[in-house]
Symmetry: C2
Subunit: 374 residues, 2 copies
Amino acid sequence: MALRIGVIGAGQLARMMIAPAVELGLDIRVLAEDEGMSAQLAATAVGDYRDVETVRRFAAEVDVVTFDHEHVPQEVLRALVADGIAVHPGPDALRFAQDKLEMRARLADLGVPQPDWARVESPEALQSFLDAHGGRGVVKTPRGGYDGKGVRVVDNAQDAAEWFDRLESGDALLVEELVPFVRELAQQVARRPSGESVVYPVVETVQRGGVCAEVLSPAPGASEKLIEVAARIGREIAEGLGVTGMLAVELFETDDERILVNELAMRPHNSGHWSQDGAITGQFEQHLRAVADLPLGDTSLRAPWAVMVNILGGPQNATMGERLDTVMQKHPSAKVHTYGKDPRPGRKVGHINVTGDDLDDAVYEARSAAACFE
Amino acid sequence: MALRIGVIGAGQLARMMIAPAVELGLDIRVLAEDEGMSAQLAATAVGDYRDVETVRRFAAEVDVVTFDHEHVPQEVLRALVADGIAVHPGPDALRFAQDKLEMRARLADLGVPQPDWARVESPEALQSFLDAHGGRGVVKTPRGGYDGKGVRVVDNAQDAAEWFDRLESGDALLVEELVPFVRELAQQVARRPSGESVVYPVVETVQRGGVCAEVLSPAPGASEKLIEVAARIGREIAEGLGVTGMLAVELFETDDERILVNELAMRPHNSGHWSQDGAITGQFEQHLRAVADLPLGDTSLRAPWAVMVNILGGPQNATMGERLDTVMQKHPSAKVHTYGKDPRPGRKVGHINVTGDDLDDAVYEARSAAACFE
């Protein structure tokens, strides 16, 4: 019988695991939040991932549980582990992706380079941190943020007053120094439960409005030292936090050539979508191999350059299908990945990958192809 | 609403259409012969493809009908067309893939180079052909053969006596000269209903026991002239027979540098599996684009060489899953494609693709990886 992999959550990340699961002969089953989700094709159950009995019933029918997102509550995860179910990444790793304060504290213990930060329980504590860091900082809610939500650049503690008001007793906000970065990078790592890990080349990510817009792989102009340091940081975090499956480490590169950890994701991540077409083993296949504790695949590049551009918002006055015709007509070498989602402003509804020998050509081609969906 | 593509037949070819359909956001639906078939994940109906009402009901829920195999009877195909349903390839093209005598006659009309052949209704007629061609020939049943079945090399008309005995009145066998070929080639072509066509580079196919064992892409040592002639023959056949979707043309290369058409398949074909990992647009994505009348994709190679080796028979004393671990451990760069089929001797249960800069290395790697399943 084929190995059964259960994915909690039916978004586009679960959807993009379907293709490699079919190729490898793995039996992928998805617990969907609702009908008609992105990963509908592989959905075998519909229910609330916060409900322990719903998740237990789903998990009883699979050999390993993994995730489309990091929002499954700790008590649900721990109930599965107590039932003897293989959960990857496990609750002890996932809590560092679920809580940014825990993440910062743990990375500090590991000695991983990161921005100055503090746990602040009051506007006064925040103001002290700001005063000590040039009067500005980045305030984050420790939990539930994504794509720029729950993140605010402030130059005054009052800018975060409403978040403090909403804090429950004993809780706190995270404040980080505003890093004078020259660009953002991301490091993908895969790690098996048995300990084997592989790294992808560090990539450059371009954010617009707090959302990933483009990824260039490998990071243009990256020195051997930068590549090595990013890979080492990635492996240290994967190992130190006990991550199983894919790990994405978002990084700042400063003008004095330091790299500092910004955010973590313990799953296939937007910054790794280029690997579907740009690497021998794409991150979705790699995630399945890692969580199934199968030997990991070759992370070599298929071409000197791979460029990913997100399709944000989607078509303004046409269907995705109509735009598909246009992009295929104009850009026969662009690889189109769609998420089966209705377009709405700012929503990620797909992405384009282009590989090639020339970076400028690949960027132009990928941007032009994505623009067909505007 | 996403374009709905209905595939008749749930074998591995339908299975391998699932991944590109998901990527492109096409709604793939499969009419399966039975439960638990290779393309089960996308099966939305189970029934007999020879039953016109079963197929009609299935076809009523899709925008275009295509195929996993060429066995759907003409009367069923024509009923769909009469209902106004888009069928690709259509019955007028498919009949040339269903009947080798019709194919030979049509290719003769088109002036396409092919082996000498004859329609023979009796052992006497067959013997005359053999006498005129050095005493030997290849006898084929015009319908229903595949993977070497329904094909017999004879040096005496009596060798085909039982086939003549079974012929119905008015039917005949096909006899072809035994071509002194130096190797076998295959040419992949995709053609849209609107007429656009694209070609892949001609590849070398290696058969063992009448079954495709290996494919080398592009055909090693192929001259520009050979590449051009093969592509021209492919396009002429696609155009002349009105093929829509993928067309595979199996070819003999002779020691005097001629190429002669051996067989045709109007669907993604084993000789094109290398393209999943070796070309920008794999043949399964290309088939979907072609039958949906969407613009065709780039057929450029992703690497100088791509090698495909079939996994025949499958594991002797282990499960496919157990062998997956072995092949991943030993061959991290091999791309494993499995069909979700129980192994049995001679059955195609998967294939390995390897791409690279060096042909010998790629062949060695692909063969070694496939050998992990023996």
